[in-house]
């Protein structure tokens, strides 16, 4: 299953490079991972390094932490340090 997942991930990445019209395989990969590792859908700790663009992927998160993440990702790459924004893990 691990190799199958990697194949799908690599295929998704390759197709994305080749075409802007590419249809993301993320939902398929997400389901594969949840099945492989028996991860409960609503038991994720939200990593502040991720984009908060997870609507529809059934991932729960802490509300306050997400707000901090949204703030950090509104910043452009201007050298703003996330720690300076009071974001803690």
């Amino acid at each position: 299953m691990a190799m199958e997942l990697l194949d799908v991930a690599n295929k998704n990445f390759s197709e994305k490079l080749g075409s802007e019209e590419h249809s993301s395989l993320l939902p398929e990969m997400q389901n594969m991972i949840m099945n492989m590792y028996s991860i409960e859908k609503y038991n994720f700790v939200f990593d502040e390094r991720l984009l908060p663009n997870l609507d529809g992927y059934n991932i729960s998160y802490d509300g306050a932490k997400l707000k901090a993440v949204e703030q950090s990702f509104l910043q452009k790459s201007s050298g703003v340090n996330q720690n300076e924004m009071g974001i803690t893990r």
Partner: protein, 177 residues
Amino acid sequence: MLEEIKVILDGNQSITGEVKDNLFELITIFNSSFKDVSLETLKERLKSLKIKRESMYLAKLPCEYKPFNNEIIINVGRFEECDAKHWLMHALLGVITAKDNYYGFNNSEGTLVALNEGYTEILTNNLVGDVDNNFFTDEMIIVNLISKAIGEDVLYDAYFGNDSERVLKAMVEAEAK
């Protein structure tokens, strides 16, 4: 160490002064956050690193590091439209972790190429902030999900140790539990 890197960078006649300054700034940012990561590969590759313009047909991304040729390939049109600092940091992480024709925890067969790009982008965001409509969104999400199963330390050690086998083994072992 940084002084040594500055001297090496200044000695590379293939890179303009402005780009050298940009690279050194990013190297300084990296080193301040990842003090325990060796810069020996970086030092070696900076000596002959080239920045090369490429056509939109060959360079799909605004900026990309090619370990085999030790070149940072720039798609000029796309590069001018994007956050250059962000993309250059992504490429620099490739230089820092380069080995043969790959970098990070990828391998020569490209088995982990997508996950490797996702992890590289996570590090990039951590170092210089995120960008809108991040190209590597899918890959970052998948890496983060997998990290919950195999541990973030595994990915970190494998990335800076060029150890694809460690990631593959951890993914299989976690699946068996």
